[in-house]
């Protein structure tokens, strides 16, 4: 029996308690899933590997974590500056955790196909490590199977001869008129208008506050609904991005509002004023800056969204079919 060769580690690892990693020997890839007390193995022989697919994933979640980390770090800095070092350190530590969570969010996904299985490689979660690991896997697999040139690949693919299998049918892309998107961008403009009125007039009345809050909540609700609705629809890419940008900016705006409120509260308290003093809060420069930014992004994104939606509507609009009847006296359906 030949002596067992040592495994060589591939870049990429995931998990804290349940960990995934990839190792290679001369003839196979070993996928390891380990917990603190045991390891489970799955082998893929290089002779059997048919394909590797690496897909980049959107880093939206990481962006949220980083934004939260920056906001918390900023808040921690403010607290340390305003002689609350304990809370400042606490928020700093939470910011570090948020930063780590953002760093751990996967930005790619990889699966390996053999003739009998298609398995995800959970250890491959980050592009940089993924590219190194896949480069190594390609070299090892080609050592066993040889290389596949473009010409050979083309020779296997006779145009029009690919049989239709369930896997080759693309999921249907449905037409969507964008009603929710109209409401979303409209509510954003409405929210911006109400906020602008409150800002300019300095109004602190309860009904106006309720209307502004309702418009803000409606924006979030319709943004979520629109994001679901536009999935696998023929909605224009620009409109999709406007919805995604709304979903990204909304929590950032909320976090920024919270941070500014806490900052102002701390400043007012240090000056001996009550933090609930509405006029003092409204007149604070930090609040004014926040208000301008808030109104601006709602207004700009709402306008951009509406324009893009209008352009999309115009480009997808198909005129009703022209019905030509030889006998003008006969009514034709749909005419």
């Amino acid at each position: 029996m030949s002596p067992a060769q040592e495994y060589r580690r591939l870049p990429g690892r995931s998990g804290l308690l349940i960990r995934h990693s990839l190792w290679v020997q001369s003839d196979h890839l070993l996928r390891v899933r380990s917990n603190p007390f045991s390891e489970q193995y799955r082998r893929y022989y290089f002779a059997d590997i048919q394909a590797l697919v690496l897909t980049e994933l959107p880093g939206t979640a990481a962006f949220y974590w980083y934004a939260a980390a920056i906001s918390l770090a900023f808040l921690g800095g403010l607290l340390v500056y305003s002689v609350h070092p304990v809370w400042g350190i606490f928020f700093g530590l939470v910011a570090l955790i948020a930063f780590y969570a953002g760093w751990r969010v996967p930005n790619c996904s990889c699966y390996l196909k053999t003739s009998v299985s298609t398995d995800k490689l959970p250890a491959i979660r980050h592009l940089r490590a993924a590219r190194k690991a896949i480069a190594s896997l390609i070299v090892e697999t080609e050592k066993v199977q040889g290389t596949l040139s473009r010409e050979t690949l083309d020779a296997h693919h006779a145009p029009g001869s690919t049989p239709i299998t369930s896997g080759s049918i693309r999921p249907p892309v449905s037409h969507y008129g964008g009603q929710l998107h109209w409401i979303l961008f409209g509510s954003m403009l409405f929210h911006a208008s109400v906020s602008a009125v409150v800002w300019i007039t300095g109004s602190t009345s309860t009904p106006v506050g309720i209307i502004a809050g309702a418009a803000s909540a409606a924006t979030l609700l319709f943004a979520i609904l629109a994001a679901f609705k536009q999935h696998r629809s023929d909605m224009a890419r620009g409109v999709r991005w406007a919805v995604i940008a709304t979903l990204v900016l909304y929590p950032l705006d909320t976090i920024a509002g919270l941070a500014v409120s806490m900052y102002i509260g701390i400043q007012l308290a240090s000056k001996g004023l009550k933090p609930g003093n509405t006029q003092a809060v409204l007149n604070h420069p930090a609040f004014k800056i926040f208000r301008v930014a808030d109104v601006t992004w709602f207004l700009v994104l709402g306008c951009i969204g509406l324009i893009l939606l209008w352009l999309h509507k115009r480009s997808t609009h198909t005129p009703p079919p022209l019905v030509v009847s030889e006998n003008p006296g006969i009514q034709v359906d749909g005419a």
């Binding site: 070993l30 048919q50 050979t152």
Partner: protein
């Protein structure tokens, strides 16, 4: 050449990846627009002979398979020497094996290449020696347990991956320190009780 009947799909949305994007880096999914790279290998086009069957004995005096007496033997098992037909012949670790030898070696734990899981006794011993130490008093039980786990499994095969026995050494060291501490405490208490009495 046979046309390709295999499909590859985007791991984000499940849409099939068009043939033109195979072996191309930085292509985009037609449906979700996710950037992807697809690498295909010659095995994608090789046909598995699902209807493979061993040849039957046609002439008198031909060797037959140990497991299938009516099938013609093509190779002997490199472990036990039994004759094997193409159905029973298993190429493994560069040799020809029969199913019986593979099974027997696997039962004895002699084929690391067939193991699908391995317990990590060194980690168990280390956890028994360290975590309970936070509460101190459980170590009166867990320290001997850690020593037992280490001693019993010292020579058992551990992970398939490169790994030293450092965890075992640390676990044994900590367990011994904890046991010595308890013994010292017990001796101290007995001593103080005797001196009072």
């Amino acid at each position: 050449m046979p046309p390709v009947s295999e499909t590859l799909s985007c791991s984000k949305c499940g849409a099939s990846i068009p043939f033109e994007d195979w072996n191309r880096e930085h292509a985009f999914c037609a449906l979700c627009r996710a950037p992807h790279s697809t690498y295909v290998f010659p095995a994608l086009f090789s046909k598995i002979d699902q209807a493979a069957s061993a040849a039957a004995i046609v002439a008198e005096g031909e060797a037959s398979c140990y497991y299938h007496p009516r099938k013609r033997a093509v190779v002997p098992c490199d472990q036990c020497g039994r004759f094997l037909c193409t159905l029973c012949q298993v190429e493994f670790l560069g040799q020809n094996w029969c199913p019986g030898c593979i099974d027997a070696h696997k039962q004895k734990g002699q084929l690391a290449n067939l193991d699908s899981s391995r317990p990590l006794y060194d980690n168990m011993a280390l956890v028994l020696a360290t975590l309970p130490a936070v509460l101190v008093w459980p170590t009166i039980i867990t320290a001997p347990m850690s020593l037992y786990v280490a001693a019993r499994n010292w020579r058992k095969p551990s992970s398939l991956l490169p790994r030293t026995k450092a965890r075992f050494y640390v676990a044994v060291l900590l367990a011994v320190v904890e046991i010595v501490g308890w013994v010292w405490l017990a001796a101290f208490l007995i001593q103080s009780l005797i001196s009072r009495g």
